[in-house]
Symmetry: C2
């Protein structure tokens, strides 16, 4: 028997279309045949995973899917470097080879990379079929579960090709977090902390108090952290599904973070590590503007430090590298780079007037940072 600790409903419905879906958070959900039967009924499945996650979790999911539906399995190679159109092509080829019809459901078992690739494949297959998310990393659980962003990278930049496509449900099995390497767990915590920073200072305070229990991966604390993170994200996304405005605050730390990842080459730092560093940089610029106290930056640095997350840019990276990279980011509006700063702790704001000099002074004066 599984135990469902939290259920959150994401509601993106309009009067003319029902697009709400549940996020179930609990223990042993991936092995629970009745949950899959409720969500998928008798529909066929294209199960997509990768060569790291599949050996651990695919067997229990196959078991829970039962023997009465057709299941096509696609195992991708692990890693951000494989988040490409070629991987999407592999999924589409496999689905077509087995002649899956519009009623089939793509099921993403893995981290954010598997989820993003599979969601995009589902968006394109026969012009769009349903998909179900089974995120197995903390980052994917708090980031990819809500928002509907799917897609792949291009040599010119991250997530340049994709679609908005909402899942029919998200199952978050807390068991997956016990086998997660410490570095990947911390990368997910970075995004959790982000939600506190941008819109719920009470959540940030709670995270400071709960850091030891999070590090011990206590399930009840993990469940609460995930649920509150998804709730913040769902609130923001509901207000702005297609990213015209307020949704941009979810990119807090990401403009710097993406630039760090791109300049270094994807994969040297994990996405969440780059975001952790990016959040500190954005907080430092905010503090330099007098919008948050300097000791709030210190609290942020200390909290990230508990999880061994990086808080200063890579040694070999200059502010010029950063600015050049950011100029190619999607978050450019009419040639101006959009930054997310903190208006105050727990409250993010979008600005477009941050200069290279300001970033250099706040974030690259290494003598001051150490």
């Amino acid at each position: 028997m599984s135990t469902c600790l939290h259920t959150l409903h994401v509601d993106l419905s309009t009067p003319s279309s029902d697009r709400s879906y549940p996020i179930l958070i609990g223990r042993d959900l991936l092995a629970d045949e009745s949950i899959f039967a409720d969500i998928l009924e008798g529909r066929d499945v294209i199960l997509v995973s990768n060569d790291v996650v599949a050996p651990i979790f695919a067997a229990r999911v196959r078991g829970a899917l039962g023997s009465r539906r057709r299941v096509t399995e696609v195992i991708l190679r692990d890693g951000e470097a494989n988040k490409t159109m070629a991987a999407v092509g592999d999924i589409l080829d496999a689905a077509l080879a087995d002649r899956h019809e519009r009623g089939a459901v793509m099921v993403a078992l893995g981290g954010g990379v598997v989820g993003d690739i599979t969601g995009f494949a589902a968006a394109c297959y026969l012009r769009g079929i349903d998909f179900l998310q089974l995120p197995t990393t903390l980052l994917a659980q708090v980031d990819s579960s809500v928002g509907g962003k799917t897609g792949v990278n291009h040599p010119q930049g991250k997530n340049m090709i994709g679609a908005f496509h909402q899942p029919i449900a998200v199952l978050i099995d807390l068991q997956t977090l016990h086998s997660l390497p410490a570095r990947e767990f911390s990368a997910g915590i970075a995004e959790v902390i982000k939600y506190g920073l941008i819109s719920d200072i009470g959540f940030f305070d709670w995270l400071e108090q709960s850091a030891s229990r999070l590090l011990a991966r206590e399930e009840s604390v993990l469940a609460e952290a995930i649920e509150r993170s998804c709730a913040v994200k769902a609130d923001v996304v509901s207000a702005d599904e297609r990213e015209g405005g307020v949704r941009a605050i979810l990119n807090f730390g990401h403009t710097f973070g993406h630039a760090i990842e791109q300049v270094q080459g994807y994969g040297r730092w994990l996405h969440g590590e780059a975001v952790a560093c990016g959040m500190v940089m954005a907080a430092r610029v905010s503090a330099a503007r007098g919008q948050v106290p300097r000791d709030f930056v210190d609290r942020l640095v200390a909290l990230l430090g508990r999880f061994e997350l990086p808080v200063t840019p890579p040694e070999d990276m200059s502010v010029a590298d950063l600015m050049a990279s950011m100029a190619g980011d999607k978050k450019v509006v009419e040639g101006r780079i959009r930054f997310i700063l903190l208006a105050q702790p727990g409250n993010a704001v979008i600005v477009d007037d941050v200069s290279a000099a300001e970033i250099e002074s706040a974030c690259f004066d290494r003598a001051n940072l150490d």
Copy 2:
């Protein structure tokens, strides 16, 4: 000065989202700078065409786009065989190489293949940017202008990969029809006749009466035929944007038609030619069921004959070939092949109980057909 003969508004709006767009039908629209300025304002453009259409029309479009916006040009190879993910990749590569942002607009100048590829590229680029249709074939003008279907072929079948993505506007320049080869013009007429068959018998009657003037490509008659075709399609699509139900009647003649194209290899018959034959086959099955008079089938055969469209399956194709091919089509629901028949002239109906024997008797008894 251009002359706008008809303007049709396609309205797919819901209370929460505005998704209506205009279809402008007239003479010299592609050279009209003020029309492009109204629709595109100052936005940058990725202009996509092919190596047959671009030499004829690209210069006038470039002129009408003016010199103040950035224009990236992508010239694809002509033909259905090039409707592939590789072509989509070429467009995305070019757009990314020039660092086009979310405000840029993809402009499709060409027939249905260019429109479908470009629309899908626009749907995927930065998770979706706007696109503008400039259809240069009659088929594209009456078929691709309305409905939002975009996508590419896969070795396993036509249009297997794609997205629903609505254009911001469609400009139909009647001048493009004067240079269209007779065979392609007739292929477009097949779809025009389809709209009469499925939902407007008065339009079918008018087409019989206007056949000579259509063959002479009189602009006022062309404009009316296009406008009435788009109006029928818009009515059907508005009622069922995502193809759950009634929209399937637009596939009248297409289930047979796609099978003919696939069994022969794409390109031997034009899509519209295969549809013409498919419509006769569907009409014959309908007549065999007593739903339309046999002399109505004769009228249809005669009208298609005026435009030299094929009305019998290829000599070397068997009913078994056809059934095997149709089993792999998207129009399969839970293993049953969905057919569109005529309930009566001017009124289509969806059925799933047509047997191979019924098709063979109605459509492959060659002695009876000649």
